[in-house]
């Protein structure tokens, strides 16, 4: 038999649920109506999900962004912060189309990653393949110079 591992893609989902609960509580306490119909598809987990790889030169950040055209993704680096933001467009609909399932999240996103170094904004490279964005962020020249080799 095929064994499908039915795990949520986000390992932190339990915290999301707690956070969602907390948000609901806060709304209830502040007297705001917590009617879910206003924003039924609010994404509480961070988006996009990231994988970070590091080396002496800098970091490589992979972001899961399926279905987002590269031109819709904005990559910016300032100081030691890398920000990925943009818009995930809704798929085209036709008149009379009804949804039976809607699990894919849409809309705008923004996520900032604190880097453990000052980055060289001119050396940042980004590529997009099969729905995965890869950003390479090098350390700034000053950062690289600061590293002192200790001789024996």
């Amino acid at each position: 038999m095929w064994e499908v591992t039915r795990i949520k893609r986000n390992p932190w989902s339990i915290f999301d649920e707690l956070e969602a609960l907390q948000a609901d509580l806060n709304r209830a306490m502040s007297g705001e109506s917590g009617a879910g119909s206003e924003a039924p598809r609010v994404r509480r987990r961070p988006y996009p999900l990231l994988n970070v790889l590091s080396s002496e030169q800098g970091v490589v950040v992979d972001a899961e962004l399926p279905g987002v055209p590269a031109k819709e993704i904005d990559v910016s680096v300032e100081g030691n912060e890398l920000t990925l933001s943009g818009q995930r467009p809704e798929p085209e609909t036709v008149e009379g189309m009804t949804y039976h399932r809607r699990e894919r999240s849409m809309g705008s996103f923004s996520r900032t990653l604190q880097l453990p170094f000052r980055a060289d904004p001119n050396g940042v490279k980004a590529s997009y393949r099969n729905g995965v964005l890869r950003v390479t962020v090098p350390r700034s020249a000053e950062e690289q110079r600061k590293r002192i080799t200790i001789e024996a």
Binding site: I7, N10, V52, V59, M97, R104, G131
Partner: protein, 130 residues
């Protein structure tokens, strides 16, 4: 109106163990319907066209794909929130679907499967015999 496509719990009889291939994820999907067709959109980041499989057998539509992570020479993992691995999800399709006309396309890690309805189902005007 009844849902044309439903996820089945356990289908498929292949014996592939997750240990061998890493975890198998259920892709997030949208399922939508018009008068003429049902459409399934599935997020499968990291999967290219060649590694995507769409099959229809015994009224079950199976979508699967294998994602490959690009290597980064000289870099070591510092933090990981997602894994690029295998995806698979099965759907029972209604007999209103014309299985010979199912089409699929893969772009930017999103698989779109179009399942047109049979002509008999679509037709609403009935010719009156003289």
């Amino acid at each position: 109106m009844s849902t044309e496509v439903e996820r089945t719990q356990e289908t498929g009889g292949e014996s592939i163990t997750p240990q061998e291939y890493g975890p198998v994820y259920l892709p997030d999907v949208d399922i939508r319907e018009t008068a003429d067709m049902v459409e399934v959109l599935a997020d499968m980041p990291g999967v290219d066209k060649a590694s995507t499989d769409v099959t229809v057998e015994n009224g079950v539509l199976s979508i699967s794909g294998e994602a490959r992570e690009e290597a980064a020479e000289g870099y070591t993992a510092a933090g990981r929130e997602f894994r690029l691995s295998r995806y698979r999800r099965d759907f029972t399709i209604s007999d209103q679907i014309d299985t010979n006309k199912i089409k699929a396309r893969m772009a930017d890690g999103v698989l779109t499967v179009s399942l047109p309805k049979r002509e008999e189902v679509k037709t609403r005007k009935i010719k009156i015999a003289s």
